[in-house]
């Protein structure tokens, strides 16, 4: 029975620990992957596009510079922790599908303000593809990844909360051993 109690308690605590690991507003690897999939719609129509994402409070130009030599045929969607930028490919810079300001203003800035980088990237990619689609430049046939509206998720850290829970749990165990 004692072993059974320990196993059950460990499982419960592991569950709690998993909650602590979940951080919904950081940029997820799965979002980077799905963004690359989404951007295939642009690539197929002759507009190669690449995401440049840094998890630091960098100026977007600096983030782009860190990439090293740029390919003039590629459009870069640059996203740092605090800034964003579109570096148009040569084929789009003369006649962009929409202004950079319009895309960033609606689709990226509100998320950066809310500290939600994960949805910022999803929204950035969507806004860019929507601009290309509405300008008649691309056939948009990739499955869409839904995006949460800005401000839906606040930055949350569960670490301190779990520490409180852990201490309370120890207190209960201590108390239980003192009761007849």
């Amino acid at each position: 029975m004692k072993r059974f109690s320990r196993i059950a308690m460990s499982a419960l605590f592991f569950g709690g620990a998993c909650i602590g690991c979940a951080s919904p507003v950081e940029l997820q690897d799965s979002t980077l992957e799905s963004s690359a999939v989404q951007l295939r719609a642009a690539v197929r129509s002759g507009f190669p596009t690449q995401v440049v994402a840094y998890d630091e409070p960098l100026d977007a130009d600096e983030a782009l510079a860190r990439q090293g030599a740029r390919d003039p045929a590629v459009t870069y969607l640059v996203l740092s922790r605090t800034d964003a930028k579109i570096a148009w490919a040569a084929s789009l810079s003369e006649n962009p599908p929409s202004s950079e300001k319009a895309i960033l203003g609606r689709w990226v800035v509100p998320y950066l303000r809310a500290g939600d980088r994960d949805n910022a990237l999803k929204s950035f990619v969507f806004g860019y593809l929507l601009a290309l689609h509405e300008a008649g430049r691309i056939e948009w046939d990739e499955a869409l990844v839904p995006i949460l509206p800005p401000g839906s998720l606040g930055p949350r850290s569960y670490t301190w909360g779990l520490a409180v829970s852990f201490l309370l749990m120890i207190l209960v165990i201590w108390a239980a051993r003192r009761l007849p």
Binding site: M1, F4, S5, A8, M9, A11, L12, F13, G15, G16, C18, I19, C21, A22, P24, Q28, D29, S30, T31, E33, S34, V37, F126, L130, H133, E139, W140, D141, E142, A143, L144, V145, P146, I147, L148, P149, G154, R156, Y158, G161, L162, V164, S165, F166, L167, L168, M169, I170, L171, V172, I173, W174, A175, A176, R178, L179
Partner: protein, 532 residues
């Protein structure tokens, strides 16, 4: 001895009063005439009506099991359509209320038989049974309360061998079979009961008695589903997987499980305690609850311990199969109840240990425990009041959008072929055959849904009208916006012309959706036309 028994009887009576008060508290603002807080509850009503009218237990009479998440609940609902003719929401509420009351009473009886002290047992059963999110399942029109009641009954029958050990084992087996037909994943309770066997004073052969009816139910279910759909699994599973996880297409099982636990953390904080998960109170109750779980196992409270183990196992099963809480937490309905019930066990243990040391007067100890109950009851009471508004607004939203759109669909010409993503209120009040874009009725539509490309399907089925849920902004691809999620923006030889847009106000929608996750704020009816 007689006095103690009288005290336990009083405890059962008081618990009944608290349960009734909690129910009244949430239901008080809402009329049953206006239906359900979830569109899925209307899907059960369509299945029940189809069963009553045609004898086929499915959304359509052509396909057994279609869109039926719970065969047992749909069959119960069908009784109303066949013989009683009550308001669907009132009938569902009455059945669920009986199950709700029975569940709470059984929990108290289990703790009593486990040997828990009266104040601990009563508090734990009372906090568990009046956990606001849990109480709301009674009003949801869904099968959640049936699942909880049957689980509890099965555990009671198994862990309480009594004089008629064999008879109780067979009764437990039949309950498990019904539980499986209520929700197939709940068949996992059989494993939990087997695990608890060494502590039940039962013989190994009793396992045969509980397993046999369950296996018969599984075999019958699998065979009928395979015959009807070509797949033995529930027909709704794949459609629901896409609906819940389309926003994280490349997320692995661990990430999805983490998301689910985080969702529960948010839900328990906001909709069981009425605080933010950033707030201290949630973490305190969680810690007390985890400690309470330790106490349950340490004291070898086999009945309540098995219930707890089942609650954890049920979450684990969902982590693998469908890692989400579901609308309003309905997929794992034991969770909010166990959270608060165990929270009381933990708090009672700490306060009792401290007062045994520092409070010499027995009367002062009683006062301390009453004070603790009042302190812990305050967030529950606040949360019950918040749920009354959330429930009211959720019912209003479903009535004003899904049901209203159903009436629009009913007024279309009989020659129209209509496809819709939501098929509950629209199906019930539309009273016509719908092509289900959510892949709940016909699993062969899953591919079109997964690829966000339903245009070929619309063309193949000669669809003339489409109803889709959308967000407040048509061009924003939020998770509510199925115009985008179904790929209706994609190039096609046809176009969609909006005929009718029905929306709730943002305030009504938001208050309901935060608690119940009921659905999109807007329903749009489109006519399919050739491109000019």
């Amino acid at each position: 001895m007689g006095e103690k028994q009288a005290q336990w009887k009083w405890a059962h009576g008081l618990l009944l009063l608290l349960q009734a008060s909690a129910l009244y508290c949430i239901a008080r603002l809402t009329s049953f005439e206006h239906g359900f807080p979830l569109d899925d509850a209307w899907i059960h009503q369509v299945v029940g009506r189809t069963f009553a009218e045609t004898g086929v237990l499915g959304y359509t009479s052509e396909r057994f099991g279609s869109a039926a998440t719970s065969l047992a609940w749909a069959a119960i609902v069908a009784a109303n359509h066949a013989w009683l003719g009550m308001q669907p929401a009132l009938f569902a509420f009455l059945v669920n209320a009986i199950l709700f009351i029975g569940t709470g009473q059984l929990w108290l009886a289990m703790l009593h038989r486990d040997g828990a002290p009266l104040s601990l047992a009563f508090g734990s059963a009372a906090f568990a049974a009046t956990a606001s999110n849990f109480v709301w399942f009674t009003l949801s029109g869904m099968e959640s309360m049936l699942l909880v009641f049957l689980s509890t009954l099965a555990i009671w029958l198994w862990t309480e061998p009594g004089e008629h050990r064999q008879l109780r084992a067979w009764a437990c087996g039949i309950t498990l079979a019904l539980l499986f037909l209520t929700r197939p994943e709940a068949g996992a309770l059989l494993g939990v009961l087997a695990l608890a066997l060494p502590w039940t004073r039962r013989a190994w052969r009793d396992l045969i008695a509980i397993a046999a009816p369950c296996f018969v139910a599984v075999a019958l279910y699998a065979w009928t589903m395979a015959e009807a759909t070509g797949d033995a699994r529930p027909s709704t599973l794949e459609g629901r997987r896409i609906m819940w996880f389309q926003d994280v297409p490349t997320a692995g099982p661990v990430e999805l499980a983490e998301r689910m636990l985080a969702m529960w953390a948010e839900r328990l904080a906001e909709h069981a305690l009425a605080v933010s998960s950033d707030g201290l109170l949630f973490w305190i109750v969680l810690g007390l609850g985890l400690g309470g779980a330790f106490v349950v196992f340490q004291r070898r409270w086999i009945r309540f311990g098995t219930l707890l183990l089942w609650g954890v196992t049920h979450i684990a099963v969902y982590m693998v199969l469908l890692p989400t809480t579901g609308h309003g937490g309905r997929y794992q309905p034991l969770t909010p109840a166990l959270f608060l019930g165990l929270g009381w066990v933990g708090a009672w243990t700490v306060v009792s240990a401290l007062s045994a040391r520092f409070v010499p007067s027995p009367r002062a100890r009683v006062v301390t425990l009453v004070g603790l109950a009042v302190l812990m009851g305050a967030p529950t009471a606040r949360s019950l009041l918040a749920w009354s508004h959330a429930h009211h607004d959720a019912v209003a939203h479903i009535w004003d959008t899904e049901v209203a759109m159903g009436r629009e669909v009913a007024s279309l010409p009989r020659s129209a072929t209509v496809a819709s993503f939501d098929i509950g209120g629209i199906g019930y009040f539309g009273r016509r055959e719908l092509i289900d874009l959510g892949a709940l009725v016909d699993a062969s539509l899953v591919t079109a849904m997964r690829d966000s490309n339903v245009w070929p399907l619309l063309r193949a089925r000669r669809v003339t009208h489409v109803v889709v849920p959308e967000g407040f902004a048509h061009d924003f691809p939020d998770p509510w916006n199925f115009f985008w999620r179904l790929g209706l923006h994609k190039g096609s030889t046809s176009r969609l012309v909006p005929l009718e847009t029905i929306a709730s106000s943002e305030a009504v929608w938001k208050r309901g959706v935060e608690a119940t996750l009921h659905g999109a704020p807007v329903q749009v009816l489109y006519r399919v036309e050739p491109q000019p």
